[in-house]
Symmetry: D3
Subunit: 320 residues, 6 copies
């Protein structure tokens, strides 16, 4: 059966859905109700849960799976799900969160292989060993976590997928600018955001942990590099340099890097990170716009609204 993203008015559905967000309100008759945004992997839809009880409010919270029976109506031009029955999914239900949330467009195993290829391409033994040890240490969350809470790569395995894209870009760039040190650049890319597995609370509907708020993924990870180096008995310039790449990857102190990039590969790492994040945001926003229109405003890009040239056919919508 097709997912919630393909429903049409009049469809009746019985389906597992993940609650993406749940908001309580009071109707004009004074009675409480809830507005749920429900998702599966194909998209999301709004539903109202009228006359909600306190129990409902406790049960139906964000990041919870529910089983719903209902039908699709239209409300002022937008599809809405009218709930007939709703219950929490239990361990007996044949469903997992990962079945319901979007994830990277690449298999985890494939990403593991791809990234490991680059780990082993690092020729400096100190840099390789530190990188390898850290990938191994955080193996599972590293390949499952999103890269952010919102804005870009905020899907399952978004962190690893962001790394894969950056490595591809780095490979091309180092071929064009052969002075660049591939060891440093590859290691920097693989490690730069790995601290997010501590900064964020989990794979789906993540929030910031206390450590994340007080220390940030940058300091967390710079720290892990030293610890790992010590455990491996590695000392010297490479350890300092690797830490610096992580510390400086936000590019400016006002963006949270305690030091700006002071090594060429740190500057390149920052630019590649920025590049992949921006293109990803732009592609997604433009996919939703028609030729001749402007996208919604993109907050992390100075709130700009981008134009999709009118002379383009809308083929990119299909491709993606």
């Amino acid at each position: 059966m097709s997912g919630i993203g393909q429903c049409k008015e009049g469809d009746a559905i019985t389906q597992y859905l993940l609650i993406k967000s749940a908001t309580k309100s009071v109707a004009s008759n004074g009675k409480p109700f809830m507005t749920l945004i429900l998702q599966d992997i194909t998209g999301d839809i709004e539903a109202k849960l009228w006359d909600s009880s306190e129990q409902d409010e406790q049960d139906y919270t964000a990041d919870t799976i529910v089983k719903i029976e209902g039908d699709i109506t239209t409300f002022r031009g937008k599809l809405q799900l009218r709930i007939k029955r709703i219950r929490l999914a239990t361990d007996q239900d044949p469903i997992e969160k990962s079945d319901l949330v979007p994830s990277a467009p690449m298999e985890i195993t494939e990403m593991v292989d791809y990234i490991n290829q680059f780990v082993f391409a690092i020729e400096n033994p100190n840099i390789q060993r530190i990188t390898r040890a850290l990938v191994k240490k955080h193996q599972q969350p590293f390949f499952e976590y999103p890269a952010a809470v919102k804005n870009h790569h905020e899907f399952v395995s978004g962190l690893a997928y962001h790394v894969v894209s950056m490595l591809k870009l780095a490979k091309s760039i180092t071929e064009l600018y052969p002075d660049l040190d591939t060891d440093l650049l590859y290691a920097g890319i693989i490690l730069h955001d790995m601290g997010k597995v501590t900064e964020l609370s989990g794979v789906t509907a993540p929030s910031y942990t206390v450590e994340g708020k007080l220390l940030g993924h940058i300091s967390i990870m710079a720290n892990e590099v030293v610890q790992t180096a010590q455990e491996l008995g590695i000392e010297g310039d490479e350890v300092t340099v690797l830490q610096h790449l992580i510390l400086s990857h936000h590019g400016k102190t006002e963006w949270g890097s305690p030091k700006p990039p002071l090594i060429r590969e740190a500057e390149v790492l920052h630019m590649i990170d920025n590049f992949d994040a921006k293109i990803t945001m732009l592609n997604r926003a433009l996919d939703k716009a028609n030729p001749g229109d402007f996208t919604e405003k993109l907050f992390p890009m100075e709130n700009r609204s981008f134009y999709k040239p009118a002379y383009l056919t809308n083929t990119t919508l299909v491709e993606n």
Copy 2:
């Protein structure tokens, strides 16, 4: 014979040299003298012209070729040229400025071919025709001008070489991010800085023209796009979009773009421009530094001084 960049103390030379800069001073005995920086393609050296006359001051100005007989001495650890004879080069002398100034590490003909390849790869006929017409119109200066007065690509053919590097980068990037419109991106790269042939005064020792100061290469070029389109009878979205790419390529209004990038390819154009300029500056600064040292401060990169990791062998010095 080897050039001025390879001289050692004690060498006697008789050579054509280009005056890179000429400064007048008064010695402690009250007599005027001049300090000349003299260059050939291999490097530059300082020389003092003692007891200089008013005629000397008129003759020996920046961007002038002289023939010099002298010998190499050391003054406080730095090589200096002691002038025995000096005269202006004339039309009879078998020397041209281009023999004495550094230029792009690629033949002009090769760059012409490379860039044309991209012109012809543009599939949209309107964009291709405008681009082709402008490359043709400015053919000679476009392939000879530097990209700037200083900081990066400030050598003969620096403008075209910068475009070549950006096209290479764009080609790699569009393969990795296939949603990008290659037509727009290629045309934008080729045209974005072409206004510099009007903004700058010439190929060697360039300064800003009045038009350059009052209008800037951005407005100059956006304007030429419209004129060319009109001459070719082209109208519509493509003309607006191409103009926008040029207008927005500095990325922010405070950096002189009247509009920030509002088209995906305009954003990418800005990032690629930035990328190539920064890497070029970094490579050059790092080539002069030893492993374990920091470079001189790079003004256009927030005055940062970059570290060359100590664990690296100095092979890049040789390669470049």
Copy 3:
């Protein structure tokens, strides 16, 4: 009969009105309704259209004329129009938009005369011919367009009226500071915002066109100056200088001028533009305030709220 701005509670009206804005909402009974702001030349009033249909939503959009029968009620201290009948105006109705929207407090013909006087006062033939040609080319929209979407001179013929006010100011100033070049200043004033006839979508309820968003009225107009010069066979310093006046009239790069003013008259043009805009905003805001009170916050003036001194009698309210 008096207009909507003079109505009192209890009045019954049958009148043509222009929809200034139309917003859809849902009432607490779940039924859709629309909130319309309706204007004639004397002011505006709010009205609710209860139980609105989809057809209503399609018909009653901003910038549309309707004929309404209704009466004036008070709702929480504010007048409101209770709609009894509403229909779209048709070509048969003896009404035009210009009858319903505020416009400049000066006849168009008078403004044409006034501005032409200044065109002909320009002594430099190159500057005069370019200015004259452009006024002629854009004659109709130039004398009908507003100067902005909101904030100041956002009424019919606001653009030309803004130019008239600036010319008056320029005339006084050049008498006091005779070094100023009147040719340049007059031409600059007449042309500086003329690109708005391309940047904005129309005379009433204007929005930004795609060209407006991607290029802006500054680049559009600088471009037209060159084209016009070429058509007239004019070359040289005057063309560059005129372009510069237009390019720099926002005063700073961060305000969208690719170059800051670098010519005395460009600086003066910027200051006069600023002066007329600010005084116009201030006068309007103060007209609505009572002595001893502060105005509403003025967003384009750093959100300041201005004081109307208590010792002043409220005569300015009458005068204006």
Copy 4:
């Protein structure tokens, strides 16, 4: 006889001159010498006082009149005064500082009349009486002080002349924008910078007093307004409003106004002040430049260098 500004090489002079600045240095022979800039009303010239004694250093300081016998030589293309005899002027010498320093291009008596005219044009009796009392209180320095230490109106009577120019401008503007309150605007203009008679140390070669540095002319003058009002037994809104005009005339807190303009006439006062200062600076800088050239950089105008259009004949040089 003509002044120092008209001398030519070879002229012998015997003349009173004011020391504009005096700098001590050591010659390459280890002996001390002084560099003096000497001025009369027609201009200034540099002179060296070789082998200067400690007494010389104590005597020949800035703002001192000397009698000099010497002749005019040329040193590297610039005129220089070779001192044959120098002595301090004494009370017996028929010379006063005011004979040697540039001053406003309007007689003091004429300025007194002009400004008084505006004082008496103020209709509000409270505002008029306060303004009149303060003009009277500071009569002498107000009409003699410069408006600043440097940049604009830094000549004798520059303060009053700046006020005169602003009043002229205000008169024109209030005719064009009749809503403006002339009482407030005229009083504000006359008083806004009057605190400079306390902030600055004197008429010629002024520096900042301790009160000037710690309080500034803005706070000093706002304070005097209240005191004067109290002495005259005036209370109420006008006193507050007048103070506000003075406090806010720098336009922004970051420019030293404790409050930004919050009254229309305060905003206009700020704009007129700014306008007169900028035009004055621009006129002076452009007078020294040739058509087709750029002026020196103007620090208080964001360090911009202004262009004097090439197509202009140099008539303004003559006029001024």
Copy 5:
């Protein structure tokens, strides 16, 4: 009986309360109602006044005492007061505003004594006499006014209490840094915010007066210092210095000080002021948070949200 801050669901109350804020709305049935925030010294509670009349809206405004009979209900987890009867308090009612608003945790008489101690500790007679005269002049409001409209010390006698805290801090600091001039620092602390008795409208629910908005407490008070000095026949450096301390106590021009601190004790005054304000805000916000949680966002502290460490027991909640 306990206050409104200690009520529980089901309690019936008959009590005087001060209206802290009153907002008008329209219910979904189209009828007007008011939302009142009602306070006594123990806290505040929300109440709805359904079907409110125009008279109600006129009567029940902020800073008015009402007598209310009602009972405490719960609405969506928050206590609410259901109004049964409400009337304005009259002069006959045995209640005063000060009975209903929070005030400084120190008796006024105690604060008077404490502050006077410091006045008399000032050894410089000029500084002491000015300070003493001003404390005497503003005696009553100085000891009753809040220090601000919101954010910190916005309770009865908040101004004097803020001064007391700062004096305590100054005493400790001057013992540790004995170079500091206690005379200046004590006088500066006592006077720095005294202008607030003119800037603010009153003791409870204060707003800004016209003088407050146009001049600000800084200019008002600097001015009073001079006037007082004149009345006492005091002249000289101390008067200038005291004014400077007041003028500069916001620390930067962009924060409203016309001069930044240019005297050591002025800098210290600014730092102590800042310190006491911030700690007070932080303490209050943290008192409401549980260990392991973050506080609400604190707007005047760059909108930061502060963490209360999880390892702390919640004893501070009890203590305060």
Copy 6:
């Protein structure tokens, strides 16, 4: 015998001095010479070493001790040391650097005791153990290093003395604001700058190490806290919180803290750090100024120049 700071013109000296800085120049006769700044514990003096050899340039570098015979002359009002004999000090000479450089006005042993007192006053065992371990680990450099390269506490033991002053201040403050957690605050103060023992190159004439430049003392120390906690087997909130105090102590991201203070005690730590540094700078600058004068400009305090009130007797000069 008295030191170099007490010499008068005509004195003959034979003394060990530390070279504070050494600069090479060329005299007007074309011969090289060196300008040395020589210091002992009482002050410093300039000396010229004429006709210096290459050997001299290699020998007489900053941070080197020399033995000098010479006499004191006056050159243009400033004392200067005329060198008669100079040689490098050797291991046989009875002199150590610490004899020649200023150091904290408190014995190291006293500081050790004082700081340890606070370590043991920390009640939370986790926080105490981590702090104690780190003080022990860095014991020697921690009590010998300066706190900075310049500006404040740039003398021997400046780091520990800065900590001592801050602890004193913290003690007073926590008595006045008892909600503050002394454990956190004391530990934060003791540890916050300890990373400087890695960031700086040594005790005298320190420069930044590569680690210092690439990582900074903030990241270095945050890292050491975690390592130490791991070695001690400590986990949990306290470790995160301590790290946060160190990471945030510069107060803002643009000042190099990757996180702004998000814990009350972190904010207080930042304010105390700031307070002690500023007072120290101010005291030193004012000690050199006479009453009625302004200090030199203080770069780290926004380049302000501070006033020393004229009414003060110069007793602080004596005291200090």
